[in-house]
Amino acid sequence: MTSITDAPPAVRRTAPFGLLGYVVLAAVVVYYAATHPFDGYITNILMQAATYSVAVMGLTVVLGLCGQINLAQAAFFGLGAYAVGLGTVDYGLNFWLCVGLGLVLVVAAGAFLGTSTLRLGGHYLAMVTISFQQIVTLVMVNWIPMTHGPDGVSRIPRPGLFTSAQGYLAFCVTVLAVVGYMVWRLPASPLGRAMRAVRDNELAASVAGIDVQRTKVTAFAICASLGGLGGALFAGGFAYVSPDQFSFAESIVFLTMVLLGGVASPIGAVVGTGLLILIPEWLRFLKSVPGLYLAIYGLAVILIVLFMPDGIWGWFSQWTRRFGRAAVAAVPADAAALELRGSVGHNNEVLRVEGLAKHFGGLKAVDGVSFTVKRGSVHALIGPNGSGKTTTLNVLSGIYTPTAGKMVLDGTDVSNLPPHRRTIAGLGRTFQNIRLFRSMTAVENVIIGAEHPGNPVGKAHHALDARARAALAFVGLGDRADEMVTSFSYGHQRLIEIARALAGNPTLLLLDEPAAGLNSTEKVELTGLLKRIAAKGLTILIIDHDMTLVSDVAEHITVLNFGRRIADGDPVSVLNHPDVVTAYLGSEPDAPH
């Protein structure tokens, strides 16, 4: 898990009422901003808070939703601000045109950074964004003919409609309200769900059919564009921009703002921004000792991280949720309604594997394995520990690239496709160590499984929801669809994972040691479930240690040892094959470890 929130609030389906309430509230705030007579100091603070908040909401998206770090938000903010400053002052362009140009600029920069480095993630991303930040600052300072260097750009005009400080402030607040609404609604949209899935578990997201890379780049570009938008507004608000306003230190301030307020909600962004602008102002009375108030500020940051892990807003909303939380009645779903792809197809082979090999340096984990999975069958892949089963499965689902060999899924050569494309091509899988999206409900997990191109269910939310609930009902958890996945037992989490794979309407279901960690009752239930899936005609490729399960359900068994196939055929003949007996004798017992 890369998110810092342990459990962001589930998104409530209250859009129409929520929208109305939001619009009314926003209108009141905008009206207040437009009409209340503020003095210059308050106007400046509010202007700063409003424009910064827009940029901080970008971090809500990239960090809160998608779990990626960005330490260059001040650079994006600065690019937006300079686009407006230089465009209006030096080139005499229209304000709105400059805002547009600024957005194009930052989205391009953000997408470039994202495309080139997001696959590295974590600390590398942190470093690349710091580098970008430093380079932007240096260019602003040193490319004097273009940027005016350290003098900055002064006398930046405001757009015609909003020349007064008050009018412009009201405009900024309006923009903030619109951006806030979009960020608030984003988690419930397909894109937002994909981001959350990527944040919770990249690997599971990719095999659920999500293009992880594109999702991250999109999140990063959204973050950059909100940074640029905030900066563009800032330039108009303060009429002066200079490089030191967009330094690395400011990027840190942006990051602290979003974490302080809480990454889970745009309200957190506003709260965090407001506080970090106001706290140093309030603490001005401590100024007689130089450094004292910034020291207190630093201490406050540590204390908040220690005592309010979800930020101030996260802490507050947890409190409010403790009261008045109504149980959501689950929509009854019909297990029988789940349609699975049956035994109709071009030919009898769902999967053909030819000469598959995967070497890690000198280690030949899989070494020239071939087998064929017949349509409508339950096919088992077994072998002692270290025989290469899981590696084979990871190569099959595209997590590893094969050293050699070919895989044909239902007539399509998938050998070189990334995981999400294989899912689109008809592959579904589960993991040995369960990989669910832990911040979401069961049904949201399964919706993500259903939500990929190529699924005949379509894109409509109600259809996806119905399919997800049907899949959950099919595995026997229909009545608990709206609970958080973390509240389920281990065995039930496994069932949710299977439901997630089924919802995607696969042609071939890959199960990686589904019985691992289950007790005997759960194993019986699992066996029943697999038989019901098989009865619907879906082809299954299962890997397991559990011989009882395997011999109960499998019609065909392939045995691996030391990365090579040593037997292949029907269960009775394979399990009596002398090589198989030798491979298992003296090795560990067949029970799961």
Binding site: D39, N44, G152
Partner: protein, 381 residues
């Protein structure tokens, strides 16, 4: 744990409410107030301390002499955190206090640029020390500069080097911030006007840890005189030491930072025998000498330009308000413009229509760590 958390959060709530209570207590009439925007935190905090001390000395002097319009003078300070947004907030915070009649701005030019729109809106006289020449050409009638601008420092360095030292092969080293870039530009222009093209102009960014490449470039260019614009004393200290270590012995005429107290302490012998332009030089006039004695008595260190302009700014404001007979901003402005030949610690003030009060510089020399007055160069245009 639970208790700690509750205690912490309620403590936070009290902490957030307290300043609002405190703020109410200080609004009192009976004095004439001057607002001062000054760095109390951040990289320039040291300079801020000096600036406040200078302003306070003038305050005491004015109040001892009977105050302004029969009332005591008072200075209200706000921290600009050494950043531009900090300066804007600090100024706009002071500006909301209608009791404040006039302001002292920043010695940093970018901060003055950032505050300029608010100063114009606020429409009250604002004295400042930033030396970027463009500041007084913004068409902002409320800006009054209490130091000579960089246009003069560049000309003074050039004049001194060409006429007194008789050297022609110039190297220029400058910080790439606003101050350094504009200063170097002015110096290069002054040299070119005299028909001398600098052999090398080399910029560096602030807080560099090493100047070897810069020094080697100067050495290769074979310069016989060096002009410099350094913003931060630690950069100056590192550069000075490496310059001498790597064997560049050319005479050196630097911008004011070369003779300030911190630079002398950091660089030590590496700066011996260098020249500096100084808007403030202790031996340049009796007024400067008197200020130095007063400052030393309080601060126990030698005064420099970080404080002297604030001292003059407060004195000038007191003079102008007394002359105007009221605190009406327009009247004070006119009174300020009519001040002629006022002898301050920095020099003789004659405000022109742009708001520039001083039109010349002193040249001083570092003689084994002691600053000696060498020459005053004044321009009429």
């Amino acid at each position: 744990m639970q208790v700690t958390r509750r205690v912490f959060t309620s403590g936070l709530a009290i902490g957030l409410a307290a300043p609002a209570v405190l703020r109410g207590a200080s609004a009192q009439g009976g004095t004439i107030k001057i607002g001062q925007v000054v760095p109390i935190t951040g990289p320039a905090a040291e300079a801020g301390k000096y600036a406040m001390a200078g302003a306070k000395l003038a305050l005491e002097k004015v109040n001892k002499a009977g105050g302004v319009l029969g009332k005591q003078l008072e200075i209200v300070t706000e921290d600009d955190q050494t950043t531009n947004p900090g300066a804007v907030l600090a100024f706009s915070k002071l500006a909301t206090n209608a009791d404040i009649s006039a302001f002292i701005g920043s010695i940093r030019s970018t901060q003055m640029h950032a505050m300029a729109p608010d100063i114009l809106k606020n429409a009250k006289p604002t004295m400042f020390g930033g030396t970027d020449p463009t500041l007084t050409k913004l068409g902002n009638p409320w800006l009054f500069r209490c130091r000579p601008n960089d246009g003069y420092s560049g000309r003074v360095i050039a004049t001194f080097g060409l006429d007194e030292l008789k050297l022609k092969k110039w190297g220029i080293v400058h910080s790439t911030d606003a101050f350094g870039t504009n200063g170097a530009k002015a110096l290069a222009e002054a040299l070119e006007k005299a028909g001398v093209k600098p052999a090398i102009i080399q910029g560096y960014s602030n807080q560099s840890q090493d100047f070897t490449p810069v020094v080697l470039a100067l050495k290769q260019a074979g310069i016989d005189v060096l002009g410099s614009y350094f913003t931060f004393e630690n950069d100056l200290g590192i550069f000075a030491r490496q310059l001498r270590q790597l064997g560049v012995t050319a005479p050196w005429v630097g911008s004011p930072s070369i003779v300030n107290v911190t630079a002398l302490k950091l660089a030590g012998p590496a700066l011996y025998n260098t020249y500096g332009v100084a808007d403030y030089a202790e031996d340049s006039s009796p007024e400067a000498k008197a200020y130095a004695d007063a400052y030393r008595a309080v601060m126990k260190v030698d005064p420099d330009n970080q404080s002297s302009w604030c001292y003059d700014a407060v004195s000038l404001l007191a003079t102008a308000i007394n002359k105007a007979g009221k605190t009406d901003p327009q009247a004070v402005r006119e009174a300020m413009l009519s001040i002629k030949g006022y002898k301050g610690a920095e020099g003789e003030y004659n405000f022109d229509q742009n708001g520039d009060g001083l039109h010349g510089y002193n040249i001083v020399q570092n003689k084994s760590g002691k600053i000696a007055f060498a020459k005053h160069i004044e321009f009429k245009d």
